[in-house]
């Protein structure tokens, strides 16, 4: 019995960990490329969930169209937000970024409130669950996990094997040198920010398949994304995914073997310990 609870606890933790990792990945890519912290992450996750949900209401047969539409809208939304807002924040004091993006959060949340009402929503798609003894695996969770892994692999492939990826890495390493070599930094920033927002929207669309959500429900996910980014090393997508899995598993163990109330506290404690003992994160090198 206890072994089965142990196994189920690990499975539950890994499943939610993939979502944490994906949410953190959007955040870490934006920071990695342009050194901007996306304080509107929580609202963007919820917006991604609502776009997925809204698509589902028009096509209530599968969650896939919702995910695709959410990813597309996320990319365009990222370009829009960058061009209208974020472009003007580069080089400004970080406090300005914080205030402007919290303002954006408020605008997004209240817009969602007016568009979709405060009632929590959920995509009622029936995914089968497979049980082995007392261990159960939901195919919806498996699907979410596979999507998170695929997204990570794609991001890494783009960064490592495409010209765009090389340009991004060049900008990350030395913005001035890249500019002198003819790189259009503004364009790279636009696409980098959009990529991060796209991943954030994807996390929201996947979340909508397994969890209920409401306009102001992004904050807990955003806070976990910050924890994951710090633990997994800033600007490192793979580190983010691993950190997500660690935090997800810790959340699950604390809930199953202690009390769920302490789960966020333990996650923040891990973040504080990381600040103190290994500020470069799990995957970073000591400077």
């Amino acid at each position: 019995m206890s072994l089965e609870l142990l196994a189920q606890t690990i499975i539950n933790g890994l499943f939610i960990g993939f979502l944490f990792g994906l949410a953190g990945m959007g955040l870490t890519i934006i920071f990695g490329v342009m050194k901007i912290i996306n304080f509107a992450t929580g609202a963007m996750i919820m917006l991604g969930a609502y776009v997925g949900y809204w698509t589902y209401t028009y096509w209530p047969y599968s969650a896939i169209p919702g995910i695709i539409v959410s990813v597309g809208v996320g990319f365009l939304f990222g370009i829009l937000v960058y061009q209208v807002l974020v472009r003007r924040l580069i080089g400004k004091p970080l406090l300005t970024t914080l205030l402007v993006l919290f303002g954006l959060t408020s605008i997004l949340e209240n817009s969602m409130l007016n568009l979709w009402s405060p009632n929590p929503r959920s995509i009622p798609i029936d995914f089968p669950t497979y049980s082995y003894g007392l261990i159960s695996i939901s195919t919806s969770r498996v699907f979410v996990s596979i999507m998170a892994i695929v997204a990570t692999i794609l991001v890494l492939a783009v960064f490592k094997y495409t010209t765009f990826g090389r340009i991004i890495r060049a900008v990350i390493q030395d913005k001035i040198a890249a500019t002198l070599m003819g790189v259009d930094v503004n364009r790279v920033y636009t696409l980098g920010f959009s990529l991060g927002v796209t991943l954030t929207f994807l996390a929201g669309a996947l979340l909508a398949m397994v969890y209920p959500f409401e306009p102001f429900g992004g904050l807990p996910y955003a806070l976990m994304a910050f924890v994951v980014v710090v633990l997994g090393t800033l600007g490192n997508p793979v580190g983010c995914l691993f950190a997500g899995l660690i935090i997800g598993t810790v959340h699950s163990f604390v809930g199953s073997y202690w009390t769920l109330n302490m789960s966020p506290a333990v996650a923040y404690l891990i973040m504080i310990i990381t600040f103190l003992l290994r500020p470069q994160g799990l995957m970073g090198k000591k400077e």
């Binding site: 914080l98 405060p118 009632n119 959920s122 710090v230 500020p279």
Partner: protein
Amino acid sequence: MSEDKINRRKYLKYAGAAVAVGAIAAAGYGISQYSQQPAPTTTTPGPTTPTTGKKKLKIGTTKPLTGAEAILGRNELNGTLLWEKMVNEAGGIKAGDGNTYEVEMVYYNDENLPENVGRFFEKLIVEDKVNYLFGPIYGPLGMATVPVVMRYEQLEFYGTASYDPNQWQDEFGEYVVHVCTNGNAYLRSMMDMIMDYIVPELDPDAKNIAIIHGDDIFRNTAGVGGMEYAKEKGVNVVVYEKYHTGATDLSPILSKIKAAKPDVTILLTGGAYQDAILITKQLKELDINLKLFFPGTGTVTHEWYDAVQPYGDYVLTITQWEPGVKYPVNYGPSHDEYISRYTQEYGQEPEYASAIGYTQGLALQMAMEKCPDPLNPRALRETVRKEVEFIGFYGHFKTDEHGIQIGHKVVVMQWQNGKKMCVWPPQVANSELLYPMPKWSER
């Protein structure tokens, strides 16, 4: 020092700041989350010319007429306004002092903000000089009224089920009369159904249950009260767990329940609407096959049923009142008369908040009729405590010495083919309990 290093430090600093700001935002979350555009406060015009020979009884209230609880607030107000209209049509309240009183309601839109409730209650008492107060629906708003009525030693007919018995047990009863079944008694009807019906007649193992609940004031009192009553009734609570209301994932707790199987047969939850969706989905995902479950009060809404399709049937819900739940009325309008008048007046069927709003008035009316000094809050309070007991369309009304409602009981409903059917108590049940639930894989 590299640029990267500077930025990393800045990042860490601001990430820390973000978490701190997030925590502050979370603290303000409950207040800000559903507030909408502020609307101008309004008062009813009220009767401009009092009828000769009749005295005027001014009753004040606030309701959330905008914001997330606007529908409930409007419905509760409609119930009260219908009572006002019906009483005045009948010639007013013939009070125990020999006078007849015509009712005038004064109300404000509190915009679903507790700070507005306190301010408006003070205004109602000091400026509008109302005789009595009716509390608003929704826990945080109701709680905000209590310090004000206590400070001014006024009498309020409470409009919601949330209160903190530990905080106000003694003083509370002097100034507040409960109309609803209190949060700490919310799970009692379910326990009664389990021990008085399911265990003796259907399934002896049904007394092994799990209780989990959120940690906000209403759900905490519901869960703790349920736990205490379970002990009293001899129910065997195999798993008991509290979680932070609004938690995004409850699979760790539900896995505990699964690990306790096959002992746990029934799960009772004090959960919010979102929790009710989450618990239903995660029970199915984790393939936890209970014989019955109640995932929270949010199950009373059709929105919940739609959100968990096709797994809403067999799930239990509880409510203060539903159309179709008929009591043998000995005071006030009958079930059919009330529904007919309400529908005629507002163009829609009443729901539980409307019934509470009407019953606030009905309780005050009986107290006025029996009290020899009906405009004295303390005298009226004593009358409510000792002499006011009736069965209205909403059910039995009787309070204890602390003003807590002990007559009225919540009814247990079960979703059956997309409809809520009353399955407990037997006096008002209109359907048989479907027990046990089929396994998830068989549905």
